[in-house]
Symmetry: C2
Subunit: 125 residues, 2 copies
DNA sequence: TGAATATTTCAAATATTGTTGAATAGTTGT
DNA sequence: ACAACTATTCAACAATATTTGAAATATTCA
């Protein structure tokens, strides 16, 4: 994971249409949807849809494969989750105690934060 | 969580400068940093820094408080994590079995995905 | 082959964002 | 009050992103 990849992913999800597309495809998981189905469900005209799908594929948030005359798209959820890890990987500079308090202050954080790795600063005093 | 909040957050993190700012502040956890320190560390001129900090605060990714003549900024990590939950909350339409396979296909997904809630479609056949 | 369907490419118009310097506002210490 | 310091606002300009229709490409089916 690096800055270039991360900003491209965030840029991709910063458009309401692209966010709708991604969330719709998350729902359909491994089955995915073809472009026409997406356009019909979200009411986006084909030319514009193509523009946004291209952006999402280039960001690697979607994969695409040809299926006869259709294009089938699927969401790449793991990429999104890798990015969260990237955002939080140096949380509190690895200071276990400080980071525990930081999480405690905001309860919902426990659900998704990567487990503390207990590196360098394992024991404070 | 809703679309408006989510796109604003993604928009905020789609700029390299703003991503750098957020990640820097994650490192400093509950201590945060004042604007001048951020600008010095990231080498961003004050006017431009102010522009980006404002965007991040408006997106609620940063909190800010006055400290004498300084402004101290802190990262709001839980918001970021709430958004991941929002993106994945209807994964595979709640079909437990399908979703399990979807996760299995991409190993790193286990680390951060919210636990399966086992709703409607608990038993297939 | 020819008609119908699915999707993309291209170019033009519009809209939104990012950057910079000059001026402004608030805070501290003398 | 004054000078030094921190940071923001404003206005101009530059750079990017989004939307649309018309034309092009590619596939299926009769």
């Amino acid at each position: 994971m690096n800055k270039q990849i991360a900003t491209t992913v965030f840029e991709s999800l910063s458009s309401g249409i692209r966010l709708d597309i991604f969330r719709l495809l998350v729902k359909f998981g491994p089955d995915g949807l073809v472009a026409g189905e997406i356009g019909k469900k979200l009411n986006v005209p084909p030319t514009n849809l193509s523009f946004h799908l291209k952006a999402l594929v280039q960001a690697d948030l979607l994969s695409v494969e040809q299926e006869g005359r259709f294009q089938r798209f699927k969401a790449n959820i793991p990429l999104m989750l890798d990015i969260v890890a990237y955002l939080t990987e140096e949380c509190c500079c690895g200071d276990t105690e400080k980071c525990r308090d930081y999480r405690k202050a905001k309860p919902q954080i426990e659900k998704f934060m990567p487990p503390l790795k207990t590196k360098k600063i394992t024991k404070t005093k």
